[in-house]
Amino acid sequence: MSTFTLPVATPPSMGRPLPALPFEVDRGRNAMWLVIATEAFLFISLFFSYFYLAQNKGRWQHNEPPKLMLAIIMLVVLFASSVVLHWGEKQVKKGNTAAGRIALIGTLILGIAFFVIQIYEYMDHWHSLTPFTDAYGSIFYAITSFHALHLIVGLLILAYVLVLPHYRPTDESPYLPYTVASMYWHFVDLIWFFIVGILYIGPH
């Protein structure tokens, strides 16, 4: 074989004996972290585009900045939904699946409320600005509608978790769908914070 003497280490530490090991439950969460990372970079690209296009002030200065009121209300709604969902996740982990389902329904209602307010806000906004007006309109609607699309996906995922037959509080694939769905939902909420900060508060 090789002319090199390689170090003969002690056999690897095996931790507990294998038959005592639990089933692994992290892969879904691991993957969701990475999904969130890549989605975060998508929004970074969008925000970068916003700032890059803002160099061409031209017309932008004459645009009145978007109204704050509704955006802040939407922020509160989304934040509340995250709080409710987080509470529900804790309940499911404790084994209280009924409370978990109620929290899901609450989150869904708040999410849909957000969506309805956003439609109202779009209709209000549309009089002065459309995506076809200029580059500002294009990027404004692109960012907010990308967020809305993510919100719809989040709602669908939560609704799906709601109809799942069981989330048993053991380590056998129990609250996992619940946790993974919540991670995504919290991320979508977080993005709205940035949108409010950059698109709404920034120009004021």
């Binding site: 090789s2 002319t3 090199f4 390689l6 170090p7 003969v8 280490a9 056999p11 690897p12 530490s13 095996m14 931790g15 004996p17 294998l18 038959p19 005592a20 090991l21 639990p22 089933f23 692994e24 439950v25 992290d26 892969r27 691991n30 993957a31 990475l34 990372a37 890549t38 989605e39 970079f41 998508l42 970074i44 690209s45 969008l46 970068f48 585009s49 890059y52 296009l53 160099q55 061409n56 031209g58 932008w60 995506p131 076809f132 007006t133 200029d134 580059a135 500002y136 309109g137 294009s138 990027i139 692109a142 669908l156 799906y160 799942l164 037959p165 069981h166 056998e172 694939s173 769908p177």
Partner: protein, 627 residues
Amino acid sequence: MSSAAVVERLTEIWGTPETAWGWFSTVDHKKIGKRYLVTAFLFLVIGGIEAALLRLQLARADQSLLSPEAYNQIFTMHGMTMIFWYASPILSGFANYLIPLMAGARDMAFPRVNAFTYWSFLLSGILLYVSAFMGQSPHAGWFAYAPYTTLKYSPGYGMDFYCLALVFLTISTTAGAINFIVTIFRLRAPGMAISRMPLFFYSTMTVSFVIIASLPALTAACTFLELDRRWHTHFFDLAGNGNPILWQQLFWFFGHPWVYVVFLPATGMVSMILPVFCRRPIVGYPYVAISTILTGVVGFGVWVHHMFAVGMTQMAMSFFSAGSMTISIFTTVQVFAWIATLWKGRPVLTAAMHFVLGFIGLLVIGGLSGVFTAIIPADWQVHDTYFVVAHLHYVLVGANMFPVFAAFYYWLPKITGRMMNEPLGKWSFWIMFIGFNLGFFPMHISGLNGMPRRIYTYPSGLGLDGVNMLSTIGAYILAVGILLSIINLFHSLRYGRLAGKNPWNADTLEWDTESPPAPYGSIHIPTVVSRHPLWDEHDETYDPTGERILDQGRLTLATSALDAIPNAISRMPEDTIAPLLLALAMFVFFIALVFQAMWLSLAGVIAIFFVACYWLWPEAEIARAAP
């Protein structure tokens, strides 16, 4: 249980029936890896035929074999095919096939996602080539600068195919990257701490993170372009206060890291192959690993060097020029590690080793011309000339295709179970090497003489006739060399000597499995105590109690990310048709978007939703056998 009974049981658990259903529903990483390799190689052949047409047109001055529009479409398809549908997927193919085997795992972390990435890679390629059958291929080069790509200057569906096929492919590639990262971090054999991982793991892990961070910029750029083209927005439209340079910023923020995506795994494979044929461990393992990671990181700080000719502040340009020169240091570290390994070892000149050595030579030439283009005044001189074409082909062909051929000669015995013909392989190498240099070295000269890239013809008497004829001859010689290797493969499938487990006396775990490997990999999940499991005294499969057989269903071991201490048992999914259905639904969605058939695309979205529900529905729990 007797050993034969164990084998039978594991085969029953992990095997896929040889039926049409099994063919479409398999999630076996080895089958998927092979499909990736074959499909990506077919794209290489298609892209090669396109290149052959281009070179035929340019062989002599004032030819009219191809019309200007046809020429533009063909060079664009050549670039896209090679960069997106060959160079990266072929590396994914190797990674798919090899990483679970090298890690001693039974499959990738997400076998169904793995199947999905293959099907969506294939279907996105088909989506791109639908455009060719319509005679409306993309025609603006692989980086497709706005505003030329907007509807006004590029009517027809070509650029729509460009945008949507690429967005489709980014979904596939991102899913694959996530899969590789989780596999590498969670499914390594007990004892394979990160300080003992094969270097191929470092490179694949690095590029997977690069993919996660960089591909969204491409998605955003393509989405903006499609919106501008068909939905009247103004991202790249100067008249609407947009900015065409935004495309370049977004595209190159993705585009330059992508160069490392197609390059680093190839160097990782070289770092696996070269030490085996030098009969010693690689010199400077930690430095090679660290410089691999740093290449990925600094790769995000160089994108503007593609845009030096655009015009921007001195400060920005100096920064990116410095970044571009810095990154060459990390590649140099790797090159010196290989040279030191050669120096200290006893090189065996197999066919695979020929390709490795050829790669090192070409990489040095391509890297040096890269330093030229990183220096701003020099870059302004050679920008958009054939010098750049020469540089990028030395880097991409030299540093991707040659290592890929080395990898074929090295790992095909494992994959097919039969040895390749060595003399024929060496002939193939020399013909490819001579053809490649004859074809591409003169392009440095034609570029310095002022020949712009992407022109369909040139008048004679400008000092370009001779060098272009040389390039064409070289390209065809290169093609002959590649053909020899293809013949070699088919010959070996039939007449090759049986490879046995470890024909090269190599050091990593994949060589401890049968050739070709059984569906379950190895009977006992191996344990590892050094960087070179098969070269040390430790018996990887020593398992007197049989606790690492894990034959109670599709199971594999999950270990901790740093030290690889077993901490759980992972359940693996059964075969399913859902990945194929999901990819098909996405195909419908994207092709409907190309033609703005909005109802059909809505149907695609609904189909995606229902397939996803079907996919994610919890299955009956696998009964855990009593310990």
